[in-house]
Amino acid sequence: MAKHSPVIGRYVTIDVDGYEYKVFYLRNGQGQPLVCQHTAGCHNHQWRGLLEDEAITRDYDVIAYDLARHGKSDPPHNREWWKEEYLLTADHYMKFVVAFCDALELKNPIFMGSSFGGNLALQLALHHPDRFRAVIPVEAAEHAPGFFLDWWRHPHANAAQVCASGVWDLMAPQSPDQDRWLTWHYYTQGSEVFRGDLYFYSIDHDLRGQLGNIDTRRCPVIMMTGTYDYLTPPEATENTARQIPGGIYIEMEDIGHFPMSENYPLFAVYLREALRIIEERT
C-alpha cells in the first residue's frame, strides 16, 4: 500500500509588474486560509511539518508557495532574467503575495512568513491591512541589517555549502539533527537567489519610524522569535512589536531562525497560541 501524503502541489501563473511567474504551491487542509512564506534562499519544504499537521489542517487551509526563482517556481518566463541582477524589493515582493492570494481567490487569509517572510508580513500589515485577516511575522524586525553579503554567491567558494553552512548556526543546537540537516539540504539549493533575497531583508526593508502606522484593529500582528536567533535576536523583535500599537510578541524558547523547519513540534506549540489570539481578536 503506497504511503501518500495528503499534501497536494499545483502551479498557478500570475503577473507581477509585467513579470510572468508560474508559481508552485503546496496545499492541505480546510477552512481559514493560512498562507506561508519560506525564508530567503529556500523553498516551501520548510513548512512540511505544518502542511501535515492534522491539528492545524482540520481548521486551516495551509498554503505554502515557492516565491518566484525558488524551489519549483521558475524565474519569469517572459524575461531574459539571466541578464539582470536579482535584487528583491519590498514593493515587488508585496505585489507578488497579493497577486498570488488574488489568483487563488483567498478570502481574508492569514499570512505567516519567517525571516525575510516575517519582514514582509510587517510590510503587508502596514500597506495591505485590509487584504489579510492577520499576519504572523516569525523571526522578524523593523530593520535587519548585516546579511546582504557577497559570500552567498562568491565564485571562488562553493556557494551551496556557504549558504547552507552559513545559516547553520541560525538554528538551535537542541533542534533535531534530522531536521537541521534537511534545512541545510534545502539551503544548498538556493544559493543563486539568496543574496538577492537578502537585498530585501537587509537593505530595502526598513520600517524604522513607521511601525506606529500599522493598524492592528484592521490587521493584528503576532510576532514570534526564537531565543537562538542571532540575526533577529529576541530583543529586536520585542522592540519592534512594542512600537506597533496592539502588537503582540511571543518568545520561543530553545529554537532558532527557521523554527517551522528545524523543530516543527516545538514551533507548533507557539503557532497554536498565535492562531488562538487571532481567533479571539478577529
Binding site: N158, V162, Q174, Y230
Partner: protein, 129 residues
Amino acid sequence: MVMSLRDWAVRFSEASDRDATIGAMAKYFTCTYMWDMGTAKVIVEMIDGKVYRINTDPRPLDAYDFALRASPATWREFARPVPEPMYHGIWAASFRRDLKIEGNTLVMMQNLRNFTVQFELLRKVGVPV
C-alpha cells in the same frame, strides 16, 4: 581543572579524524587555521579531511590561512554540551559576542561545511582554557 594543550590536541585530532560527517565529504578539506583562545593558541593543519598537525606553541611568524579569536570565557561557552544562545556557532558569536574572524576569510568559506562541523566538536572535546 583545565586540560593540557597536548591532551586537547590529541583528543581533538581523534575526534575530528573519526567524525563521520567530516569523513563523508573529507576530500579537499585542506586548510590551516588558528584558534586564539587568549591564554592558549593552536594552529590546526588539515589535509584532505584529516588533522595533519596541531601546533600547540605557535611562534609569531608561523603561518595560517585564517583565525578565530575570542576570550577564554567565550571559548568555554563554545565547549558546553549545549551552548547558550549566541555562543552556539561562529556566525552567532561573531555577530553578537566577542569572536573575531580574521585572515583569509575566503579559505574559511571554501571549507565552511566541514569547518563548522569541526568547530562543534568542541562540545565533546572541550577547550584548553
